[in-house]
Symmetry: C2
Subunit: 199 residues, 2 copies
């Protein structure tokens, strides 16, 4: 029982339900305001997963209509709490995925005329600054609110997120400078190297 077999989406769902019961719709909304930048989920995942989790006995559903509008709230069962705890303390397995098309375009920068490579760097920088702004306006307020109510970790995670975005924006700014300088003064070949060919 201590071995975990929670689908990726089940991991967020159980965690979020631990605080209080929620509908699938609620879950989606919370995710959009909190974990979506590092752990997203769509309705196409959430609703089927809730049914699977119920069949497996990790959550229980309860009809809780608002007026005549149907609503189904899910809560953790003891078995669900157990599975959640097992996952939260499992440090043997983890998912870490990073996929970044800006980096891929940058990687092939030698295939482009310098102005085009530079334009890519500028665009990547804009992406990170824009995302950081989005982050500050959309995520930070909720994280702070939670922290004021004694939930400190979501704010900590937010700080990682904004820290990374701003680090990346600074990195691209420096890269831009370097490449611009290089474009002006024909750079000396690095020591111990034969002359470089650029097309």
């Amino acid at each position: 029982m201590s071995t975990i077999n929670l689908s990726p989406t089940a991991r967020v769902i159980l965690g979020l339900l631990r605080f209080r019961p929620k509908t699938g719709y609620d879950i989606k909304n919370v995710i959009e305001l909190s974990t979506r930048f590092f752990w997203g989920a769509s309705y196409g995942q959430i609703y089927p997963e809730l049914k699977r989790l119920e069949r497996a006995g990790l959550v229980a559903s309860e009809a809780s209509p608002r007026g005549a509008r149907k609503r189904t709230e899910y809560r953790l069962t003891p078995k669900g709490e157990e599975a959640l705890d097992a996952w939260l303390t499992d440090r043997e397995r983890w998912i870490f995925e990073y996929r970044d098309e800006w980096l891929l375009r940058l990687f092939f920068g030698d295939l482009l005329p310098p102005e085009e490579a530079l334009a890519n760097v500028r665009a990547a920088r804009a992406f990170f600054t824009d995302t950081a702004r989005l982050f500050r306006t959309q995520i930070e307020p909720h994280a702070r609110e939670g922290a004021a109510e004694g939930e400190q970790f979501p704010l900590l995670v937010y700080e990682f997120g904004i820290g990374f975005l701003e680090w990346a924006a600074r990195w691209y700014a420096r890269a831009e400078e370097r490449l611009t300088r290089q474009g002006r003064e024909p750079q000396p070949p690095p020591a111990g190297t034969r002359a470089r060919g650029r097309r």
Copy 2:
């Protein structure tokens, strides 16, 4: 024709073939030593994609056996070059995905006893320091080699990668400190807040 419809895997493939013709096997090897941390691909993607690209006229294959061992090398066609250029200079569309289970576990830290949350932080830190080391040993030498031959951008991308990994490792080190300090001295409640509940 300037509108791009390259599958994610096609984007690396075309880029890598631009330097010189390669077999599917070669492509996979190069990826493992360069782009895999931000743009991976498996045989299950590469071989079928090469066939699709050939049918679409973006690459051309040529038998180039080594001794009696069969080999098929692919090279870019003019149409393939065009598609690659169009993609490389398209700054309207991009893929950026970040999925991080360490962050998700950290997010739910309020559900754990402090020692367990701290253990998670330590494990995440170890992950980033280990990955940074891997990076330095596996990727850096190849990136430097390429730079010595006039290909500067892969080294630039490597610097982003190692920079991020080390930034993350430092971030977790600081988080560890903060949480440790907090565990020793019962922290004062933040201003304008009711007493915090921690289970």
